[in-house]
């Protein structure tokens, strides 16, 4: 029982990371029906921006929490800017014109970013500073909880609730949902698609940046190749939850995270990727629209 709770907590933490990244996929997908393969690597870039900030002597001189917040802030701004620049320079002209071109360009951008980071920082892992909170534990009865797990789940949970609120209660969110349901109708109602695409890219990048810095603090280590597979699993989460659906991304992220933790906790850890991708293929067989999603079969 105690182990189950601990496994679920770990699953919730990993799932929170997936969910935050999945939100970025799902918002972009909801609007343009395209997969941005470079999204996962934004997490990596953000974690390096955060690392560079935290390595600065003047940041280290600050109170820990303030330093992390500052690093996260710079990472968010930098990643959002990077994402918007890529959108403007490379992606925008492909959207709606060449699906294959968009997929291939984002894929190449992902690997170009990895290679550039590798050139700058080298192939070896980089360590985030050690924080006392990262090793803090809370004991409730027989269950020992790591403080960081609670921080991650709490923070990510707040962001997720915020995103759901954003989607349901704001005009921009309503416009995004409308676009996901019926592109043409939404356009005719005066929805500014270009602006919404930019908003989705920026918000997605910001969430990816939070994930990047948070996972750096949580795991303590970052590397140039940490992003792509994280991105793939997050995309899987978005599909399982129902792509294009913001609540679905959250749900899917948690489902995939818990599944991974369960396999690692009770079966063999090495098999967890096989389970995740096996689950993806199974979902596409049985319920291609995902848990909360709409129809995706092609019929013009």
């Amino acid at each position: 029982m105690e182990t189950l709770v601990q496994v679920l907590i770990i699953g919730g933490t990993v799932g929170s990371f997936y969910a935050l990244v999945a939100l970025g996929y799902t918002m972009v997908y909801g609007i343009v029906r395209l997969i941005n393969f470079a999204h996962g690597d934004l997490v990596m870039v953000a974690s390096f921006i955060g690392w560079v900030m935290l390595e600065q002597a003047w940041v280290q001189a600050m109170p820990t929490l303030l330093g992390i917040l500052l690093a996260a802030g710079v990472a968010i701004a930098g990643t959002a800017l990077l994402s918007l620049t890529l959108l403007r320079l490379l992606y925008a002209r492909l959207i709606g014109r060449s699906t294959l071109g968009f997929l291939l360009v984002t894929l190449s951008v992902a690997f170009a970013m990895e290679e550039i980071i590798k050139l700058i920082f080298g192939a070896r892992e980089r360590a985030y500073p050690n924080y006392s909170l990262a090793t803090e534990t809370i004991t409730i009865g027989a269950i020992r909880l790591a403080g960081m797990d609670l921080v991650v789940i709490g923070l990510a949970g707040t962001l997720m609730v915020g995103m759901i609120w954003f989607a349901q209660r704001t005009m921009t969110g309503a416009a995004m949902r409308a676009l996901a349901i019926d592109h043409d109708a939404a356009r005719l109602m005066g929805v500014n698609v270009t602006a919404l695409i930019a908003a989705a890219f920026a918000i997605g990048a910001a969430l990816a940046a939070v994930t990047g810095v948070l996972s750096g603090v949580y795991y303590g280590r970052i590397s140039f190749d940490m992003g792509f597979m994280l991105g793939l699993k997050a995309f899987t989460a978005a599909v399982v939850g129902g792509i294009g659906n913001i609540g679905g991304a959250v749900l899917g992220g948690l489902v995939i995270g818990v599944l991974e933790a369960l396999v690692q906790g009770y079966l063999a850890g090495a098999w967890s990727d096989a389970f995740i991708f096996g689950a993806l293929i199974l979902v596409l067989y049985l319920r291609p629209q995902g848990i909360l999603g709409e129809r995706v079969a092609v019929r013009a």
Binding site: R93, S108, F111, A112, W271, P288
Partner: protein
């Protein structure tokens, strides 16, 4: 320069099949001979690596270049092929050459299992599922003790053919190049066949292909599986030349690099793939210093290439038959225009007591989430009659057509073709039963010449299969020739032969409609459905269209004509059905129906209060 030369020679070779096979085999052998004379063992090993890469690139090219599907886990096919071949050798004691077909069969099965659920969905799902598939296969290989888990499978037996063992690098090169030659020949044949043309059409518009009778889903799965089979062949080659195989040979990065090779080589181009493989594998061997930057350079190159010509990603290659064929078509006497269609013969043999009409739709209701688009609509069309469907915008005319042609399944009701229930059939099946249509907003495949746009619909009536595409290229070419001649005659019927070699994008609106008409007619329909065919036509063209419709009907074809142009409907139709708000308002002879007050009201609306006093 070299590239154009190669292209030209390739095209030249293509016109004489057996020579092309010999030439390609000869090239492969010459390559091996050169390696034997001048290459060290090291160079030869690199050359075998290039050959393996090239086979992989060719296979992925079938999936990506021909059919336009993004497969991000192509390494999985390579892995399954290599592991199957290795298992056959290590565990089952089977001969290497016997293991090749087994490896291909196992890979093809995996391809169907992955392709079937995924290819029904939007195209980008394939990308993500194939990544998952690639990781799934690698994870299994990495953890399964039967295949040696992360240690890998070894020692692999040395292939042997009639006592000739492939143990030295040069002998392995012989094997690898021979298999590469086989792959080149088969992949090129596929690309040039009717199947290749169908793939190119699907790549551009898989909705149209379905409506002209191409089994789109099956063809997509076919492309995915065919590509996989070639990957399995590469896997076998890899197993044959390796002492051991382990999971690190089949990582995601390999799939990504292969995608880059195929894109940079020019999607759909065999020579391009061969060249890009050479550059990708051999160049870093020569320039050690670029090894570290290889992935970065290739990524940036792909980005630049796509950004510079986003639409021209796939080089446009017309598959127009040789000039001689067109000349022959031109000189064929006009009396042989459009062979009497199946419907026509059917109609002439039809006796008055034949019970079932050609098309009978009964009680068709279609709801879209609360909105009733069609409400209990019934309709009968007899062979040889032109039935006009008129009605204001939003009356449900296009929905009715979609329900008949299987694009949307009716919520309730029944559609029968010659008494056979077709309500639940897939669109391509209905098309093959003799229902062809044109679209309200024309849908032509802009990457193909006008003649090919028409020819592609001849697929519906072909009895050729994969077997012919691979092993009977002469038959395929002969049929292609015949189909092109038929397409030419159909274009002649609509007066568009001079545009045959042009791309549809350069045609006027009215001409595009006429190409659609020719495309519909080449399917030898018994029921022809036209969705606003006269839109954009001038009076002269409308008169021509009316005459054409009467000719078509006179040959025994039933015509369902949706049109807003009332004079045209009056002149062309035997009978008119008026739809309004999803219901049938009136049916009867054109002049009578159009005079009915409720019909006029449906079109022009109620007189408003302001107008009332004037009347």
């Amino acid at each position: 320069m070299t590239r154009t030369l190669l292209n030209r020679s390739r095209r030249h070779v293509a016109t004489t099949w057996p020579t092309s096979v010999l030439a390609i085999l000869g090239l492969a052998l010459a390559g091996v001979a050169l390696l034997n004379a001048y290459g060290s063992d090291y160079v030869t090993t690199v050359a075998v690596g290039v050959a393996t890469y090239a086979v992989l690139g060719l296979g992925l090219n079938v999936v990506m270049g021909y059919a336009g599907l993004l497969d991000m886990g192509y390494a999985a096919f390579f892995a399954i092929g290599a592991y199957t071949s290795a298992i056959c050798g290590v565990h089952l004691g089977l001969d290497f050459f016997a293991s090749i077909p087994i490896a291909i069969a196992v890979t093809a099965l995996a391809g169907v299992l992955i392709g079937y659920p995924t290819l029904r969905l939007r195209p980008d799902y394939l990308a993500i599922v194939t990544i998952g598939f690639g990781e799934l296969v690698r994870t299994i290989a990495n953890n399964w003790d039967y295949v040696g888990a992360s240690r890998g499978l070894y020692p692999l037996p040395i292939p042997e053919l009639f006592g000739f063992t492939f143990h030295s690098p040069i002998r392995q090169a012989l094997l690898a190049f021979a298999l590469l030659a086989v792959a080149v020949v088969l992949v090129n044949r596929l690309g040039r066949s009717h199947i290749g043309r169908a793939w190119r059409a699907i790549r551009d518009d898989d909705f149209v292909t379905e409506s002209v009778g191409l089994p789109t889903l099956r063809l997509k799965i076919g492309a995915y599986v065919a590509g996989g089979a070639v990957g399995a062949l590469a896997g076998s080659i890899f197993a044959a030349r390796s002492v051991a195989i382990d999971p690190t040979n089949f990582e995601l990065m390999l799939s990504v690099q292969l995608i880059m090779v195929v894109v940079l080589g020019g999607l759909g181009s065999t020579v391009g793939v061969l060249g890009a493989s050479l550059v990708f594998v051999a160049l870093p061997e020569i320039l050690r210093s670029i090894q570290d930057y290889r992935l970065l350079v290739f990524s940036v190159a792909v980005i630049i290439l796509i950004e510079l010509r986003p639409r021209g990603l796939v080089p446009e290659r017309s598959v127009l038959p040789p000039a001689a064929a067109l000349a022959a078509a031109r000189t064929t006497p006009a009396t042989t225009t459009s062979p009497p269609s199946a419907a026509a013969t059917q109609a002439t043999t039809a006796t008055p007591e034949e019970p079932a009409p050609l098309l009978r739709a009964t009680g068709i209701t279609k709801r879209f989430a609360g909105l009733v688009a069609l409400d209990d609509v019934s309709l009968t069309v007899e062979a040889g009659r032109v039935v006009g469907i008129i009605g204001p915008n939003g009356a449900g005319k296009s929905t009715l057509i979609n329900a008949i042609t299987g694009v949307h399944r009716a919520t309730s009701g029944r559609v029968e073709l010659r008494g056979r229930d077709i309500t639940r059939l897939a669109p391509h099946r209905i098309a093959r039963l003799g229902v062809s249509r044109t679209f309200q907003t024309t849908r032509l495949i802009d990457q193909m010449a006008v003649l090919d746009n028409v020819t592609v619909a001849a697929y519906a009536t072909t009895d050729l299969g994969l077997r012919h595409a691979l092993f009977a290229p002469r038959t395929v070419r002969h049929r292609d020739f015949t189909a092109a001649v038929r397409a030419w005659h159909q274009l002649d019927q609509v007066g568009l032969t001079e545009a045959a070699a042009r791309r549809p994008g350069s045609l006027s609106y009215a001409d595009r409609r006429r190409v659609e008409l020719a495309r519909a007619m080449i399917m030898e329909p018994s029921l022809l459905i036209l969705d606003e065919p006269a839109a954009g036509m001038n009076p002269k063209e409308k008169a021509d269209l009316t005459r054409l419709l009467r000719t078509v009907a006179a040959s025994g074809v039933a015509v369902l004509l949706i049109e807003h142009d009332m004079p045209l409907v009056t002149a062309a139709a035997d009978e008119v059905v008026v739809l309004d708000q999803g219901r049938i308002l009136a049916t009867g002879a054109p002049t009578e129906v159009l005079a009915l007050p409720e019909v006029i009201e449906a079109y022009l609306g109620h007189p408003t209060d302001d107008e009332e006093p004037d009347r």
